[in-house]
């Protein structure tokens, strides 16, 4: 392990996975640096449990380096700010999302698209430029460069707002980039009603879109319509309903990361329709080319968003009272929460009540 100063100041405590069993357990460590001139130290209050956390602790994507403290939907209070920090002061409520560093000089960074920087640094399971390993938000505190800290708007509750830092921006960014928000009344299909999907429904409605939830079973139908505000619900195994829905959607956001067929989703799109893949399946998906050619359709992808648009998203959500539907848990429940998450048994995001789970480190 590279340089990590173990002064009292950067001693920290969290829960980490030590191998690909993915079992999380208490872990004492040191944050890799003291609060520098550009840094903000955040006492963590809440941290959302993202499906990526589960993939990473189990090494599903093959690039996990243990021990790993996951967590990139972090809301807390700034307890220290470096002397160059202008945007935040001690006591501010702040957020930290999926990224904590980038080169800050490439074309992507200069366009406020740090998430596409080739030297991107993730909040956990990655190395900082100084070689130290980053650990995430299932912990009591984190030290982050001010550029990667977000101001948490007054109207947003810390617990239910936390998942916006990954799930929220992951759906908001492509909705803007692929032109879904330019015209009210356009028809958006949201495939998969989980952490990403349920927020996509809320944001889609806030932009004045017609929203149809596309799901494998009718289990979540009344939720989707009565509580989340979706306009309609389409079960992919109902062949008549699927046939009736052919060519009716301008866009489809595909949040599903399990293996699935793209063909039925393409058939739902109108001519010039766009399918945006957000989930990360382990294996490549099958791409039927004929529907793309015959209907000038496209499939694109997206991941999180730049810092500027993440702030814009938080402000938008605060204005429209959009938060995640959460189940608040204690840190000690995290392993059973992960088991339930693997079975999609959560409506729709677990959030760890970090501050109330830990005694002082």
């Amino acid at each position: 392990m590279a340089n990590s100063q173990s002064t009292d100041e950067n001693k920290a405590f969290g829960w980490a996975a030590n191998d690909k069993s993915g079992v999380l357990s208490p872990f004492h460590f040191s944050r890799s640096r003291e609060n520098g001139d550009n840094d903000v130290t955040v006492k963590i209050l809440f941290c959302g449990v993202c499906h990526s956390d589960l993939h990473t602790i189990k090494n599903d994507w093959g690039f996990s380096h243990y021990p790993i403290i996951p967590g990139h939907e972090i809301v807390g209070i700034a307890t220290k700010v470096g002397k160059n920090v202008t945007k935040f002061k001690e006591g501010d409520r702040v957020g930290v999302g999926v990224i904590v560093g980038s080169c800050q000089s490439c074309e992507s960074c200069n366009q406020d698209l740090e998430n596409y920087c080739p030297q991107l640094v993730y909040t956990y399971n990655s190395s900082s430029f100084d070689g130290t390993r980053n650990q995430g938000g299932y912990s009591d505190k984190i030290v982050v460069d001010q550029r990667f800290v977000l101001s948490f708007p007054d109207g947003l509750p810390s617990d239910a707002g936390a998942p916006l830092l990954c799930a929220g921006i992951t759906v908001y960014s492509p909705m803007k980039y692929y032109g879904m928000t330019e015209e009210k009344g356009k028809h958006l299909g949201v495939s998969g009603l989980g952490g990403l999907g349920h927020i996509a429904v809320k944001i889609g409605k806030a932009f004045g879109l017609k929203v149809t939830v596309i799901s494998r079973s009718s289990e979540k139908e009344s939720e989707a319509i009565d509580r989340l505000g979706a306009d309609s619900f389409l079960v992919t195994t109902d062949s008549q309903k699927m046939k009736d829905a052919i060519g009716t959607m301008d866009f489809v956001l595909d949040t599903v990361s399990a293996e699935h067929s793209l063909l039925p989703l393409f058939s739902l799109l109108k001519v010039n329709g766009k399918l945006v893949a957000l989930g990360l399946p382990e294996k490549p998906l099958e791409l039927p080319v004929f529907p793309l050619v015959l209907g000038r359709k496209m499939v694109g992808g997206s991941q999180i968003g730049g810092m500027k648009e993440t702030q814009e998203m938080l402000d938008f959500c605060a204005k429209h009272n959009i938060v995640a539907d959460i189940e608040l848990i204690k840190m000690s429940d995290i392993n059973s929460a992960m088991d339930r998450l693997a079975k999609s048994d959560v409506r729709y995001r677990f959030v760890i009540d970090v501050a109330n789970s830990f005694s002082s480190a």
Binding site: V271, L280, L285, F290, L294, R296, K297, M298
Partner: protein
């Protein structure tokens, strides 16, 4: 009933073409009738005569890269007159009222009628350009610029528009941009010519080195990458704004996606029958896109042909006589043509006595 016509038709899915007498409708008030001079052989013709897509109706007269000289116009025709040099591409009708039609994108109309093997409004089956005369609604006739040789211009009506349309629609037409063209055949070679005329830098991507010299020295491509050579692929990673992919065989998309810059666009104009593997990571992590495109609307087909006239863009053709057509089809199956066969219809397609 109708006017006599003579052509070459496939009678069954062996795909063998043989002489065929039939009749075309009389010239209606909105119709343009023309004597066919040349017709290009598109790879789609080969797929259709063998019923590889399952939509063929026999007897099938293929041909949708048709050029000739107007012999008669209907009373309500305003844009063309006898003696005009005209062409017809892949479409002869559409509904005229849907969103696609009103935007000049008849090619995406759900009721679009293809030039051959499709049912027309009068319930007859359409017959294509491997025949002596053609009649078509004025709205689907293309004027061929005077300066373009008709034989070499014929393939523009399908191959030309198929590559031109996505270059424009996806904004891959700005001088200085860098595009890749995968596959150097009928579509690919025309894509290189249009892209160069638009001021783009062009890299041809091919499975073998054999066409490198042609691509660079004759067609004007700036670079050539052999897709099976890891080192060549590596050196070209993240350099392309877009790729026009003309390949319809099964192939790997992963190296092609790697060649794109972030936000780059991979445009599929070839249509592989079986689904391809789509690696999702390049799309998600680099916001890249895969899109499809199919010919183009009539307005943009005319625009494309006019641009070809301005820049002297034509296809590289091998002119053949009508009785060579079955051999040409066999050679086309093996991609043994530089780069399009064109049938010299007027001079060689004669009715059997």
């Amino acid at each position: 009933m109708g006017k006599e016509a003579f052509g070459l038709a496939a009678k069954d899915n062996s795909g063998v073409l043989s002489p065929f007498r039939f009749s075309r409708r009389e010239t209606g008030e909105k119709d343009v009738r023309f004597k066919v001079l040349f017709c290009g052989i598109c790879h789609s013709d080969l797929h259709m005569i063998k019923n590889e897509w399952g939509i063929s109706t026999y007897p099938l007269v293929p041909g949708h890269e048709i050029v000739g000289v107007v012999t008669e116009v209907g009373s309500k025709v305003t844009k063309f007159k006898t003696g005009d040099k005209v062409g017809v591409g892949c479409m002869v009708g559409s509904c005229g009222s849907c969103d696609s039609c009103t935007e000049g994108l008849e090619n995406y109309c759900p009721k679009m009628i293809q030039t051959y093997s499709f049912k027309y409004y009068d319930d007859t089956i359409t017959y294509g350009g491997y025949s002596d005369n053609m009649v078509c609604d004025e709205g689907f006739i293309i004027r061929i610029p005077d300066n373009l040789p008709l034989d070499a211009a014929a393939p523009l009506l399908c191959a030309g528009i198929t590559v031109y349309s996505p270059l424009k629609y996806h904004g891959l037409d700005k001088p200085g941009m860098h595009i890749g063209v995968v596959g150097l055949g009928g579509l690919g070679h025309v894509a290189v010519k249009f892209a160069k005329a638009m001021g783009l830098k062009v890299t041809v991507i091919s499975t073998s080195d054999s066409k490198r010299d042609e691509a660079i020295n004759r067609l004007g491509a700036d670079a050539f990458v052999v897709s099976r050579d890891q080192n060549q692929i590596k050196d070209a990673m993240r350099t392309l704004d877009g790729i026009i992919n003309t390949v319809s065989a099964t192939h790997s998309l992963l190296p092609l996606l790697g060649l794109l810059k972030p936000k780059g666009k991979l445009v599929m104009v070839g249509a592989p029958e079986k689904p391809l593997e789509l690696p999702v990571m390049p799309l998600v992590f680099e916001r890249k896109m895969v899109m499809g495109s199919m010919i183009g609307g009539i307005k943009e087909t005319q625009e494309m042909v006019d641009m070809a006239g301005k820049h002297n863009i034509t296809a590289d053709i091998e002119l053949i006589s009508a009785d060579y057509v079955n051999t040409a089809m066999e050679r086309l199956e093996k991609a043994d043509v530089r780069y399009r066969f064109v049938i010299d219809v007027a001079n060689t397609l004669k009715p059997t006595p």
